[in-house]
């Protein structure tokens, strides 16, 4: 068994727990100014992946660059992507499904 295996296993279990938390939190109703809290479990998961699995603290510069680019890309997805829902005035209504 590799020496770091228990550490990786714990991190993996933690990720699954956080996924469950994220799933549960998504079901709750928050005041608009508290909705940002929904992001916390996801951010914790990203941190665990970066620190434990990618070992970004000890990684060479290029690997750190790619990890940063990954976050930048996420920012692009969320930033440009939220431009639409933040300014949209029309939403689809519920439709009847054919049986």
């Amino acid at each position: 068994m590799p020496p770091r295996f228990p550490r990786l296993l714990i991190a993996w279990v933690l990720l699954l727990v956080l996924l469950g938390v994220e799933f549960g939190v998504a079901m709750l109703s928050f005041a608009p100014w508290l909705r940002v809290l929904i992001l916390l479990p996801a951010m914790a998961m990203a941190a665990i992946v970066g620190i434990v699995f990618m070992e970004i603290g000890r990684a060479p510069v290029v690997a750190r660059g790619f990890a940063t680019a990954g976050l930048f890309w996420l920012l692009v997805l969320l930033g440009l992507g939220s431009m639409d829902p933040l300014t949209r005035t029309y939403y689809h209504t519920t439709v009847e499904h054919p049986e």
Partner: protein, 543 residues
């Protein structure tokens, strides 16, 4: 380009005959053999997708449609789209030509992770088998984009299986991209600085960055789609609290950069061919190199232009429209640089160069019509019409597929150790060019006149242009079948290829054709920039 000595390598067996059992192929970690496995696979998928396209064009010969059921027609064009996009266009150049030549161009013995390379082929095949199974047990009728709520609630076709097929093949893409990035960073020959790399490597590097960063978003999107369909969790379907436009945002966040996954390697191929057949250094090397990177980056900012009429907010549409024009700039720079390279060159019209010339013209038409559909007001008229179909095919088929064929002919002597019959190569290039234009140019007119895409029948007024398009498709099919015939023939009867039949400068040409299993006898040392051809006066004398 280098001071490599390869005589010793010539004494080794080529990779083709090094071991000859079936297991030696199916368990190989040699990048060259894996490239051949991929080449066979994508050729198979290309012809499956082509058969579906032929059926679509056959249906459209008459206004009421030759295929009795509109439902069957829907499944046919979906089969065409799903197979061609996910199992040919996205992987084609990187996994076949790229896999074969990347280590050779770098002066390396293999990719950084040879086993991962083999795993990626198996993932591709598993994804492909699942996809074919889904399509042949009844198929999918959603179009290749799997838009909900059509894909989640309004049809009984095999969406989940089809989505799983694409999902699995996505991991193959990620593995290949990761492998290329690490290989290009870590395995460059001594002396090969970034600015001494051939442009094909810059292109594949940029492509790989997109593959690694964008494909996971597609995977998650398709996973959510499957979950919604199976477990009725409301993510995209408005009936259960979802937002269908969210699917489009996530889908196009991957799928617009995926357009550049498809075309950037094609740019790289053309950047290799044109200098060689013009005997000139690539004009504006650094511009071409950095344009690949900038296209990769900008491609992530423009996905909303696919959604102008989806219900996306007008403000978002305006911003995406403006951003879309930005991506045209580096693409145009590349076109100007290829033309600049040809200017005053000693041009040889061998088959690869004919394909390259065809590419420049067809891609330019595809790119310019892209500006039309990026304009918000024009797109409201043109979207969902045959104009978009024609634009897409000018970029993807006129561009990427033409580049693939150009690259295949260019590296064929290196891959197989055999020359293809040049006359047939030139004839096929011309037939494909003519057939392509006869097929798709009428579709610009059809779209502008208002014929919607994905319709089983159409008003009789559109018949002449549709018949013209179907006739062109016949010519195009003949053009694509020709290389299958003469390239196969050349494997057995073709003239033996020398190490460097084109007088090219890359490291891949400094090892025998076909290369030995370990590529190079000694590690090459790179001393000169790429595309360093003899002075013009020497070339002139030789010509």
């Amino acid at each position: 380009m280098s001071t490599t000595v390869v005589e010793a390598a010539e004494l080794e067996k080529s990779y083709l005959v090094d071991k000859s059992t079936v297991a030696s192929w199916l368990l190989t970690t040699d990048h060259k053999r894996i490239a051949i496995l991929y080449l066979g696979s994508i050729t198979f998928f290309f012809f499956i997708g082509g058969i579906a396209a032929a059926a679509v064009r056959l249906n459209l010969l008459v206004p009421e449609g030759l295929i009795p059921s509109a439902e069957t027609y829907n499944r046919l064009f979906t089969t065409h789209g799903v197979i061609m996009v996910w199992f040919f266009l996205v992987p084609a150049v990187p996994v076949s030509l790229g896999n074969f030549v990347v280590p050779l161009m770098l002066g390396a013995r293999d990719l950084a992770f040879p086993k991962l390379n083999l795993i990626s082929w198996y993932l591709f095949i598993i994804g492909g088998i699942i996809e074919l199974y889904a399509l042949f047990i009844g198929g999918v009728d959603t179009g290749w984009t799997f838009y909900p709520p059509m894909s989640t609630s309004f049809n009984q076709s095999h969406v989940v299986l089809a989505v799983i097929g694409v999902f699995v093949s996505g991991f193959s893409s990620i593995a290949t991209g990761l492998n290329f990035i690490v290989t290009i960073h870590r395995l460059r020959a001594p002396g090969m600085t970034w600015y001494k790399m051939p442009i094909f490597l810059w292109s594949l590097y940029s492509t790989s960055v997109i593959l690694v960063l964008a494909t996971p978003v597609l995977a998650i999107t398709l996973l959510l789609l499957g979950f919604e369909r199976i477990f009725r969790i409301g993510v995209f379907d408005p009936a259960i609290g979802g937002d269908p436009i969210l699917f489009q945002h996530m889908f196009w966040f991957y799928s617009h950069p995926a357009v550049y996954i498809m075309i950037l390697p094609g740019f790289g191929v053309i950047s290799e061919i044109i200098p060689v057949f013009c005997r000139r250094r690539l004009f504006g090397y650094k511009f071409v190199a950095w344009c690949s990177v900038s296209i990769a980056v900008i491609s992530f900012f423009v996905w909303g232009h696919h959604m102008f009429v989806s219900g996306q907010s007008l403000y978002a549409s305006v911003v995406f429209s403006l951003l879309s024009y930005a991506v045209a700039v580096p693409s145009a720079i590349k076109v100007f640089n290829w033309i600049g390279t040809m200017h005053k060159g000693f041009i040889r019209f061998d088959a690869p160069m004919l394909y390259a010339l065809g590419f420049v013209g067809l891609f330019t038409i595809g790119g310019l019509t892209g500006l039309f559909v990026a304009a918000l007001a024009a797109d409201v008229h043109l979207t969902q019409t045959y104009f978009v179909v024609a634009h897409f095919h000018y970029v993807m088929v006129g561009g990427m597929v033409t580049a693939f064929f150009g690259g295949l002919h260019y590296w064929w002597p290196k891959i197989t150790g055999r020359m293809y019959p040049e006359m047939w190569g030139r004839a096929a290039a011309l037939i494909i060019f003519i057939g392509f234009n006869v097929t798709f140019a009428p579709q610009f007119l059809l779209g502008y006149l208002g014929m919607p895409r994905r319709y089983h029948s159409y008003p009789p007024d559109f018949q002449v242009l549709n018949v013209l398009s179907s006739a062109g498709a016949t010519i195009l099919a003949a053009g694509y079948l020709l290389p299958l015939g003469y390239l196969t023939w050349s494997l057995f009867r073709g003239e033996r290829a020398p190490a460097n039949p084109w007088g090219a400068t890359g490291l891949e040409w400094q090892t025998p054709s076909p290369p030995p299993a370990k590529n190079f006898a000694t590690t090459p040392v790179v001393t000169e920039p790429p595309y360093t051809f003899p002075p013009p006066e020497l070339v002139q004398n030789r010509v």
